[in-house]
């Protein structure tokens, strides 16, 4: 399984903080985005936002990053702390 988490405005837009997927059908972060976009029009629109960031196991990655079972994949908007 791969754990997927969402933060801030993205979490609120999706109405979802966390979900799990099986690792069978996805190889990369882009694959996960595609899988999630297929859930509904809301998810499709939300993941169409080019500024969304992704971290795997707490490190920022880009779409080509390979994922494996046990990974924690996070999606979130650009950060605004400080």
């Amino acid at each position: 399984m791969i754990k997927i988490v969402f933060f801030a405005a993205l979490r609120e837009q999706l109405g979802c903080a966390e979900l799990s997927i099986t690792a069978d059908t996805v190889k990369t972060v882009t694959d996960i985005k595609q899988l999630l976009s297929d859930k509904s029009e809301l998810w499709q629109q939300t993941f169409g936002n080019a500024s969304l960031l992704c971290a795997v196991n707490h490190d920022m990655v880009d779409g080509s990053h390979l994922v494996k079972p046990g990974d924690e994949v996070a999606f979130f908007p650009p950060v605004t702390g400080g």
């Binding site: 933060f7 702390g81 400080g82």
Partner: protein
């Protein structure tokens, strides 16, 4: 998973993510304690302003990504230590709901010579702004109407961080 457990067990004394307020005086005292080689201490404190983009702000709520926050800050501090000759570093970031005037973030850096502490402190803040997973939601009042908004990231922050690379 084992990664996270390690992070919690060996809590990094240079980083604190906390809901509680902090004392500037106590933090600086710790940076200076038994530290007679560093002649320079530079601090940055960020506070909640009463206005933002022309709106009257009433409260600010800080969300973060536990685990990644600490990891990203540790990496930023490491980069600062590689670039400048600095002594001690402390980074505190508050989370949860904050009021006007409340302290949000603290960065303290000591060094033998002042330019290192100045540069490293500003570098840490600039990178924290664009790399550490914190998000601000503000409650604002406009013409008697209250609303909540997630703050949008600023390109000026991205541009400023890029100047260091």
């Amino acid at each position: 998973m084992s990664n996270q457990v390690t992070l919690n067990k060996d809590k990094d004394p240079e980083i604190s993510i906390q809901a509680n307020d902090f004392s500037l005086a106590d933090e600086v005292a710790l940076l200076e304690k038994e530290n007679l080689t560093d002649g320079a201490v530079v601090t940055f404190t960020g506070r909640v302003r009463n206005r933002n983009n022309g709106n009257v702000v009433t409260t600010l709520t800080l969300e973060h990504y536990p685990g990644m926050t600490e990891k990203s800050l540790a990496k930023i501090i490491l980069q600062a230590k590689e670039r400048w000759d600095i002594g001690r570093v402390k980074v505190i970031h508050r989370i949860g709901e904050l009021s006007i005037g409340d302290q949000i973030v603290f960065v303290g850096v000591t060094s033998e010579h002042r330019q290192d502490a100045f540069a490293a402190n500003e570098f840490i803040m600039d990178y924290l702004k664009v790399k550490a997973p914190f998000w601000k939601k503000e409650k604002i009042t406009n013409a008697g109407q209250t609303s909540e908004n997630w703050l949008a990231a600023k390109t000026t922050d991205t541009d400023k961080a890029d100047l260091w690379s």
